[in-house]
Chain length 229, copies 6
């Protein structure tokens, strides 16, 4: 038996939206360097940056039927996370499914498999992070589960978790940790903004961070380049 | 002995041109999911979409002399398909060869090897689908065949076949099958356009495609997410 | 003990700047096909083309402390070249370090590892050629050497060498060979410009390069495609 | 806070041991084609075939301290499953840790990262399935969780699940599904044994499986190869 | 409609068998450096070396039904060559199909996709060259063609061509060129045997091949290593 | 002009030989985690373990002429290190060159490119660590340098440096650092031998290394697995 769990608990919407202001690298640091998907998860076009709550769905290898099921479970502010039950790189998702998701206010797709119609998706401004681009289509024969924990890009995603994605990749924030991680992301970003201003003005990181003494203590020496032989 | 076949039979020009309106994923489906090149064949810049008739040429590893031979065999509406006789990833093709091909009305290049001068090619709007980008040049020492069947990106291409390429990849349509496949692509696209309108308006695919009953028949259940432990 | 060499000998600034007019493929050919980095060194955004003098720095795996040290050794016209002491693909470099480098007039970064904050770097127009994009950050624990010879993208780089990078990749020109290689690049480009004009006008490479006779001598035959079976 | 869960519920030992008689491909089919790790998970030497219960452990990138913690949680019949909290390919595990695990009766290691001392591990007959071989060592600085659900090779593993690994790869069987899946594996294998005997004796699969009629119904024709042109 | 061509023309059996004495590298050189499959086609166990005549079969992505059809077309001395109609890396082939092929005297399998049951295949001494190992199985739903030209590992194979495979990879020899290529392989090998004897005895290649003069003419100088700085 | 440096300074022979007793992982740790080649440098057969002094040679892409030159510079106890001047993966080296090197007492080959005749090399017990296996041969047209510093597998190698290679990969030890690094490798190995004895006897690493207290100080808790929901 396969199950579609409805009415899932989601991270607080305002909290999830708040992550839109912070990059994946910042959020990953802020939550203690966990939850990062593998670097092979790349955006289909540059410049997209989204945050939202995860609706998760399993798909059998080469079969995208369950994505149609998942669409109904999505609402405004969600991000759909698709994970094959076994390794597969076919093109599960194209512009028709994107039309459906956009009609429901979904912010993007994260899929550990292939995607197609990428020119259309770019024009529609529907961002996707995927393992590859492939025109190879799929069938509709087999069911699986929707809104259960899934593995995507090597990271575990529970329904209702927060997803943040930008040009650096994709990171998952646990639903119950979203509030504190958002606060830590904000604190980190504010601190970085102050630092950025001083570094942009030309102050050296060596001075700003007071690195000269600890570097010397580790045995680093400065000397002129020796004359040429 | 190596041979250059001249005056090849090409797919009908109007038919070949007609494929410009259909994406690679659509054409691949329309002809029964065959003829797709491997996903490693990627465009050097996004947004290009071409269709035309294939002029094919073999090149020895690390030797691009035969591409100069192939230029003369090309005419307006053609797409040049280049296949090394053994696996190679050097940069066989750059802006000078592209100037020659553009002067003859050639629409693009498909090469199962490397390409270089990609900034120039982007400015010239000469699209290329290749295995990689490499500045590593080639020599001019050895001859091979032109306008014989070649293997490119894992797909067999005969001279005169139709090539369609876009951001999803590259697909080959047999010369004699071009007419029926174009008709099927058109039918598929029209059907999808109607579907797209209804999905964009918010109708669920579950309802539109009447999926609820067969899904239930396969054992899919809908239930509320259980309360938290 | 680790050392930071200061006041390094650099290639002549006007010479280094002169390479800005020539592509990586041209320079690689002009210096006899050496010094090309591996094709996996890719730009984070298309269209950048830089030339400048190398400041080199080693970084331990997963530790970017030495990049802060290297910033101080950079001056206007330099390009920073970062090489891990052992294979690593974490995200060593982001927008804060880029702010520091831009404040000093540095033209770009070449790194045989990962980079992050690529959306910010694209907005700032600070070009980077890297092995991958990764949000995975690094620590500041261990020292290494600055301005010693390093290996980056499979190529040996000495401090003060000229680096040229564009959409085709990255090439290194030895400091003492910069003058002659620039002259050869210019000569090659001028010759190509004349060739390009004639090829663009429709003259065939077969005629322009006088290839017909040597091709025939190698056994190449032209004949009409045989009729269909 | 990080946690080590002790006294975990494991799949029944006799059931787990029973999987030793069935290959990964058989078990994967028997449980409905789910739970297969990605093909990049390869054995360090050929011929190993193990089944056992999973002890799971998270490791921070480049830090193997938690593996020492996990050793204590292992008992005879277990298989240790190690998953980095973010993508990493360093060499987390070598012959000393293998000595500890063998002393406790552990049957092997599954690690979504690198392993080293592979010549020693081969001599000791301690099998490992890993993403890569790397001599690059790790530190002991940071804690994480032990015996929580982890993602390894793209598959979700709960503590106490059954792991089966052979030269074809690695598959995970849920603890509560182990009994039925073992029965199905046995049934499948028995059926295959009977089939194998008849195929080895020369009976054609076309006849044995009664494929000729359905193949013809799908439009397959048999004809002699046409004479040569 | 799909077709199975029967009673194909094969290269002469004695000639095909004769290639068993020559390695892939030798045959590839002897036929002018063409017909080599891509380096990703690797043997599942070391030490196998086979030569025979090709029976070819197309398989749809994720569907191995046609391999059962192809078995009947094979006879003693053949090698089965399997090519997906679109890129796929599932495990199409295991020990049951190998039992059938061995019963008919088939010498091995070349498949541009995945294979499974590799431990059994190793025990049975049935050699396979494949793109990958994958336990992921396939279905039996769709027909395709048997004994038509196919592309495998990037090389074009016609039914009846000679296949030679060893630890270096796989090479294809055209049916009509088999006689002359065998003669050239023999000549090459005899010449190498004489060379090998002299090099093994300690004669330098520089002297044996008379390389010193042409090397000097290209500008190569010998000098003592300069003293250390 | 290209140069062959003769009579190079080599690391002390007894010291170089001494590294034969220590694995690559041990030596890499002993010298402070530097000098490791990239994990893509893999042995052509398992079980080889060599140490010796480096003779280095550059080769142009697709041209192995300089390897013949390098043979003459090798003597008993050396290991030949071959580096293309630009990225290349052809098969530069086969059994004839191995015969020459074995006649001179050379212990193995490290090559950042392809190798062929691997079945013969395995029979001859001539170990090779390479980027890939490829039957694709090379030409003899262009000269380069011998016994200059080269980059191989991403690591810088000077002539006379010590090379250690085993199933874990390849590490380079600087000529002048060989003595101290050997001593540190020995110390490390002795310490590990004592540790190994106690771990093999069943003592936990947690106790042996006194990890319990620092783990607890970092916030690690032990607790029983909660009951099932």
């Amino acid at each position: 038996m396969s199950v579609v769990y409805q009415n899932i608990r989601r991270a607080d919407a305002a909290t999830a939206d708040g992550f839109k202001d912070y990059g994946v690298a910042t959020v990953h640091e802020a939550q203690g360097r966990k939850g990062l998907m593998a670097p092979y998860m790349r955006p289909i076009y540059p410049g997209a940056h989204i945050a939202g709550t995860a609706v998760t769905v399993e798909v059998p290898p080469g079969d995208n039927w369950m994505i149609h099921v998942a669409v109904e479970q999505c609402r405004a502010g969600d991000i759909l996370v698709v994970a094959p039950t076994s390794y597969c790189d076919m093109g599960y998702f194209g512009d028709l499914l994107a039309s459906s998701l956009m009609a429901r206010g979904v912010r993007g797709l994260i899929i550990d498999a292939g995607v197609r119609d990428v020119a259309d998706l770019t024009r529609m401004k529907f961002p996707v992070w995927s393992k590859c681009v492939s025109a190879q289509g799929t069938v509709k024969e087999t069911v699986a589960n929707c809104n259960v924990p899934v593995v995507c890009g090597g990271a575990l995603v529970h329904p209702g978790d927060v997803i943040v994605a930008d040009d650096d990749g994709v990171v998952v924030v646990r639903r119950k940790e979203a509030g504190p991680v958002l606060a830590k992301s904000k604190a980190r970003e504010e601190k970085e903004a102050a630092t950025r201003a001083r570094l942009t003005a030309g102050e050296l990181g060596l001075d700003f961070y007071k690195f000269r003494e600890p570097l010397a203590a580790k045995g680093l020496k400065w000397m002129d380049q020796p004359p040429e032989e």
